[in-house]
């Protein structure tokens, strides 16, 4: 039951799935993100990357601060394409 805990709420990735891909040999948050989509949703990993880091820290016996973090990418909070498109038009006038 504990393994059904959601690690990534945006992409519905459970702890069970996380442990599964770690067992398959994915060693870093970057790899796990690409294998499962954890961290690719609207919140961009704000919740799950710390939880994944904790698991990796435990499993590989490395301190949390040494777990490799993925790149934090803009725009940080979702922005509509329309807002961005209008900014482009304004810039062109």
């Amino acid at each position: 039951m504990a393994d059904q805990i959601l690690i990534c709420r945006c992409e519905d990735i459970t702890k069970e799935r996380l442990l599964e891909v770690i067992a398959e040999g994915y060693e870093t948050i970057d790899e796990i993100k690409r294998a499962t989509r954890a961290g690719m949703g609207p919140c961009q990993g704000r919740t799950c990357r710390q939880l994944i880091a904790q698991e990796l820290s435990k499993i590989y016996g490395v301190p949390m601060e040494e777990v490799l973090m993925p790149t934090f990418r803009a725009p940080v909070k979702p922005i509509s394409m329309g807002t961005l498109a209008d900014a482009h038009k304004k810039g062109g006038e």
Partner: protein
């Protein structure tokens, strides 16, 4: 870990991983593949995830068609348990000038020679059957091919890597190749951040970094890095007629956009870029990309952008790959210069390389890909690239 192999492959993108798999499949699995970061972490994982067969040259169309056949069964082909994300929702290519439209007619002839089911689409009514909300202002014509579409660059790379590992290939990630070792005109191996490894053959698949490695033995590979940016939106319900929205692409307006099977929209534009290894994202790209694409597809205005990134195209002078057998260090092969379409042609390119190395017959002539073509003038010209 072993210190000597028959073959060392540098680069864990789809090119390196697919060559490792194709060689292992032919019984040559004493291979070490070395990747600086994680598999697919370079150009492959940063690409637009499109696969298309609507090319204008016989060579590119052949590579793409035969690669697509492999993408159609990649999981089974490699034994991979994951999902490679293939979705053949099609590509709608739009022409914005009479000249471009004339070129499309020639492209269709090339495609039809190779059995590609591509065709012109009537702009008055039929176009909406493919992309229901397209703004056709300024569009001169369009062609469509249902078998074009999307594949997941991460999982396709992982699939090849999985298949290669199952056959005995060793893969070393987070390990950087620092230098090539050559002696008496022959390649001997590589030095890496995790020690030295020996092999009488090194296949250099390091994309934009490949020329720098090749230069260590005196090979001049005229390939240059160029930043290309992309963005992705939140996932939404399918916006195409029978599922995700097909790829819509314009060479004239320099954009591409398609809905992935997951529901998100992946898109990019071609910007004027200097030669540089810069892969930082810019806010100018966010605004311009959304501006250009919302003109043609205003219905996308409500979608929210969740992430942007950038990667490198490995640009060659004729925007087609180079497969160079070193004259300075026998046994070194450099494969790069895919110029932005490496992902979609990698499966067939890997077969081309593996067949050559295993002395198997091939309909394609690998010599045509040599950088010698820039001296002889026998360029591999392609009229339809972004």
């Amino acid at each position: 870990m072993k210190k000597a192999y028959d073959i060392i492959i540098v680069g864990g993108g789809i090119v390196g991983c697919s060559i490792a798999f194709e060689m292992a499949k032919r019984g040559h699995s004493n291979i070490l593949l070395i990747e600086r970061g994680y598999l697919s972490g370079g150009a492959t994982g940063r690409c637009g995830a499109g696969i298309r067969q609507q090319w204008g040259s016989v060579l590119n169309a052949t590579l793409a068609v035969e690669s697509t056949h492999i993408f159609e069964n990649l999981e089974e082909y490699t034994g991979y348990k994951g999902n490679c994300g293939l979705n053949q929702a099609g590509y709608l290519l739009i022409a914005c000038t009479e000249k471009e439209w004339d070129q499309f007619q020639k492209n269709l002839e090339v495609q039809h020679q190779l059995g590609v089911d591509s065709y012109p689409v009537d702009l008055e009514k039929d176009v909406y059957k493919y992309v229901p909300f397209i703004n056709t202002d300024g569009i001169y014509g369009a062609t469509f091919c249902q078998k074009d579409g999307h594949a997941d660059p991460f999982h396709c790379t992982f699939a090849y890597a999985y298949g290669a590992r199952q056959l005995g290939v060793d893969i070393l990630t987070y390990t950087e190749v620092l230098s090539l070792k050559a002696e008496g005109g022959k390649i001997k191996g590589v030095s890496t951040t995790k020690g030295d490894f020996e092999a009488p053959m090194v296949i250099n698949c390091a994309n934009a970094w490949a020329p720098g490695l090749a230069a260590q033995v005196g090979d001049e590979i005229p390939v240059f890095p160029e930043r290309h940016q992309a963005l992705v939106t939140e996932p939404v319900a399918p916006m195409g007629p029978n599922g995700p929205m097909p790829m819509v692409m314009s060479f004239h307006r320099k954009f591409y956009v398609q809905q992935s099977p997951h529901g998100s929209f992946i898109m990019g534009i071609a910007e004027t870029e200097p030669v540089s290894f810069n892969i930082r994202s810019s806010w100018q790209f966010l605004e311009e990309c959304c501006g250009v694409i919302c003109d043609t597809l205003p219905a996308l205005r409500g979608l929210r952008v969740v992430r942007q990134w950038a990667g490198l195209y490995d640009m060659s002078p004729d925007r087609n790959p180079i497969i160079e057998f070193s004259k300075n260090a026998e046994g070194l092969i450099t494969i790069c210069g895919f110029s932005g379409h490496g992902f979609m042609v990698a499966p067939r390119t890997a077969i081309l390389v593996a067949k050559h190395l295993c002395n198997e017959q091939d309909d394609l002539d690998i010599k045509r890909f040599s950088a010698d073509r820039y001296r002889t003038g026998e360029l591999l010209l392609e009229p339809s690239v972004v």
